[in-house]
Amino acid sequence: MPTVTVSVNGKSHTVDVAPETLLVELIREKLRLTGTHIGCDTSQCGACVVHVDGAAVKSCTMLAVSADGAKVTTIEGLANGSALHPMQEAFREHHGLQCGFCTPGMIMSAVDMVSRRGSELDERTIREELEGNICRCTGYHNIVKAVAAGAKAMKGGSKTARAAE
C-alpha cells in the first residue's frame, strides 16, 4: 500500500492508502476532516473543493497519491483560530447558505476566485466563476452577494488571510 505524506491545514500527515483512494476520501475518512463534502460522482457539484498548493481542486478528481508532498487547505483550516476568514464571515452575514452542504466548497472556490480574479468582482464574473459549484437551496442570489462582499473584505487586509497556506 502506498504511503502518502501531505500537509493538511498546516499539519503533516503520513498515511498508508490504497492506490485508488481519492484525495477526498483521504481527507474525510483517514484524517476525519468531514467539512469537505461529496455531493456527486462526476466532478460537477464542487462540494469537495479544497486548496492544493494554493489552488482550488475538486478533491474527488485527484488521487490521494497525487497529493504526496502537497500542502492542502480544507474548510477547517481557513479560519485563523477563532477568527473567521472574511469569506466565511461574508457567507454568514449575507445568508449565503441554507442547508450548509455545498457551503465549504463554495467558500473554498470563492477564496480561490479572489486569488485569481482579484477583489473587485462584478456579478457576472462571480456567477461565471461559480459554474463548478452547485447549490440547491439559495438560488445563488445571496451567494453572489457574499462572494462580492467577502472579496472586498479580503482586500481590506483582514487579519485572517489564509492562515494555513
Partner: protein, 787 residues
Amino acid sequence: MSATGIGAAVRRKEDHRFITGTGNYTSDITRPGEVRAYFVRSPHAHATIKKVDVKAAEKMPGVVAVLTGADLAGDKIGGLICGWAIFSKDGSPMKAGAHPAIAADKVRCVGDAVAVVLAETLAQARDAAEKVKVDYGTLPSVVDPAKAQAKGAPQVHDVAPNNTIYEWHLGDKAATDAAFASAKHVTKLDIVNNRLVPNAMEPRAAIAEYDQGNDSLTLWNTSQNPHVARLVISAFIGMAPEHKLRVIAPDVGGGFGSKIFIYPEEVVALWASRRVKRPVKWVSDRSEAFLTDAHGRDHVTHAEMAFDASGKITGLRAKTIANLGAYMSTFSSSVPTYLYATLLSGQYAIPSIYCEVDAVYTNTAPVDAYRGAGRPEATFVVERLVEVGAREQGIDPAELRRRNFVKSFPHQTPVIMAYDAGDYNASLTKAMEMADYKNFGKRKADSEKKGKLRGIGFSTYIEACGIAPSQAVGSLGAGVGLWESAEVRVNPTGSVEILTGSHSHGQGHETTFAQLVSERLGVPIETVSVVHGDTDKVQFGMGTYGSRSGAVGMSAIVKALDKVEAKAKKVAGYMMEASADDIEFKNGSFTVKGTDKKVGWGDVTLNAYIAHKFTGGQLEPGLKEGAFYDPTNFTFPAGCHIAEVEIDPDTGKTEIANWVAVDDFGVIINPMIVEGQVHGGIAQGIGQALLEGASYNSDGQLVTGSFMDYTMPRADDLPNFKVGTTVTKCPSNPLGIKGCGEAGAIAAPAALINAITNAVGHEKVPMPASPSAVWKAAQGGMKRAAE
C-alpha cells in the same frame, strides 16, 4: 421590535458550524466496528428475478454478508407503505402493489435493489457486488404515463389492472359542464408537467446500529421527519417496537420533500445491522440518488377554463394522469389529489370546478412530494389558463386576474379549501410597480431593435400550507395527524431549550425559533437552543414539509411558552408574596401590578428549581412545559410573481431580464431567512421551467442520470431576484404566519412560461423550455404573426 425578536433579520445561529466545516451530517458519522453497505441494483426497468447467486460474492475479500430479497422475506420484514388512502370515483380503495425493500421476485424500475453487500470497506463491498449473479427474465416496460393505461401495456403490479392505482375526482361535474355549455369563451390547454429529480446536495444516507444488550436499534438518517420514520419502520415494517427504535436525523443537507419518505435502504440497514450485529453504513452516491430518490411532478393534463362575456371565469375542468412510478412512495397518493385539485380555484372566485385524476404505475422511479407538491401543478394549470384566456380574449392579463380575484374572506371554493385571508390585488399591484409593467412596451420595442423577442408573464399563485388540521387531513385519507409538538425546558440559570418536532434541513429553525423565545421571554437569543431530529430527545413530532414549521411548529412553541409564562408568574407570586393574577411579565421582568416590586427572569427560573419559597406545597418545582398544536385550518400564502424574458429567436436562448416576487406570507419572523427561501424556491421553479427534466428512454433507462445530463440550475443560469411582501395575517394561528418555503417553486414555472410564450407569440412551449424548444416555438410564432 427588538434586535433579536420577531421581524429582525438575525444572522443564523447554525451558520458557524456550516461555514467552518464542523457540521454533522449523517455521512460524517462513523460508528465503531461499522461495515459498509452497497446495493446490487437492477439494470432492467422490468424483469422477473429467476435466481440470485451470491456465492462468489461472499468469498470476496472483506465481505461480511450478502443479503437478498429472499433473506428479507424470510425474516418477515414488511414492505414499504403509502400512508394516505385515496378512493376512486366508484368508492374502491387505491390499488397499492407490494414494495419490498429488496426485490425478491420481480424488479419494476432500474435501480430496484436485488441484494446488498456488507463489507469492511466500501471498495470491497463494491467489488463484491460485481460478483453477485442475477438471472433476470426481462419484460417489456412502460414509462409514459399517458400510455400506461393502454390496452396491452406491460403490467407493473398485478393488483392494479391497466396500471391504474385510482381514478379519483373532485368537484361538481354537472355544474361545471353546465358552466361550459353556457360559456362565451373556452380556453383549452394540454399540459405536461415535467418530471424532476429533487437533488438535495447531500445524498441520502443511513447508519444503523443494533445494541445487543438492550435489543434496540438506532438509525441515523437524512430525514425531514424522524418520528414518522420511526413510526412507519416500527408499526408497518415491523422492524422493532417503537420504544426500541431511535431515529436521529442530524444536520440534513437539503430535502425539498425527497427526505420525507421512508426508503428501502434505511430499512435494509436496520435489518442488516441486527443480522450481522455490527453497525451498517450506507451512503448514496449521486447516480443512486438519481435512480432511487423519489422524483417529483410528472403530470399529463388536459384543462379548460370557461369565461362569460365580461371575462369572468365561470368554470374550470381538468383531467390529469399522474405518474407515481414503480411503487407508491410514502405520501405519493396525496400529491396529485388533495394537494393538487384543491388548489385549482387559484386566487379566483370560480363557481364550478371539476377535476379527474388517474394515478398510474410505470417502470420508473417512484414519484412523491417535491417542493410545492401538487400546488405547483395546480398553479401551472390555473395560471396558464388565465394568461392564455386573457390573450385569446384580448384582455390585459393583469386586468383579467383582477376581475376574477377573490375579494371577500372567508371564501369557500368549490374544491374543499376555505381561504381565510388575503389581498391578491395588493400583491399584484405592488409586483407590477416593482416590475415597471407600464413601461414594458418600451422595453419590448428596444429588444425588437436588437432583433430580440421580449415577453412578460404573471403568476398569481395560491398555496395551502401547514398541511393540517389533523381532522381535515384524516377525513381526506391521511394515515397520520398533522399537528406539531413543542417542549420548552427552562434551566435553573434561565437558559432555554426548545424541543420541537419540526426538523430543519436548511430553513434556519435554530435561529427563528430562538427569535420567538427571545421576544416572548425577553432573554438573550444566545441563551436559547433548539433541539430537534432525535426521537429519544423530542417525544414526538410530524416533521418539516408543506411550509409548516412556522405556522404549525412555532405555534406549538407559543402554546408551550404560554404555559411556561403562567407557571413562572406563580413562582414570581410566591417570591413577591402576591397572587399570580397580579403578576405582570414584560421584557424579562416580573412585577406586581400597582407596586414597585420586581424580580428578574433568572431569579424566577432559579426559584422554580430550588422551590424554597413555595409555601403550601401547591406548586410543583421545575419550569418545563409541553404542548401539541393542531391548527384549525390550512394557511393560504399567496402572491404575484412577474417574469420578464428576452429571447434570441435565432438560437432560442432565453435570458431572464427581470424577476419580481411579491408574496403574502402573513407575519414574518426573520425577513432575511424568508427572502432566502423565496430565492431558493424561485430557482427550483426556474429550473423546472427552463432547465430540468428527468427523461427515460422507452426501455426505462434514465437518460438524465447524473449532473452531466440533468441540468441543475447554476449561478450563471439565474438572475438576481427582486423580492417584496404584502401582509395579511393568518387568522388561524397565534403568530399570524402563513409559511414561505414552497412559494417560489409554486409560482415560478407559470410566470416564466407565460413570459416565454408572450415573447414568442406561440403557446406550445414545453417544460423545460430548452433553447431548441423555444427556437421552434419562436419560428412558429413568427410564422403565425406573418400570416
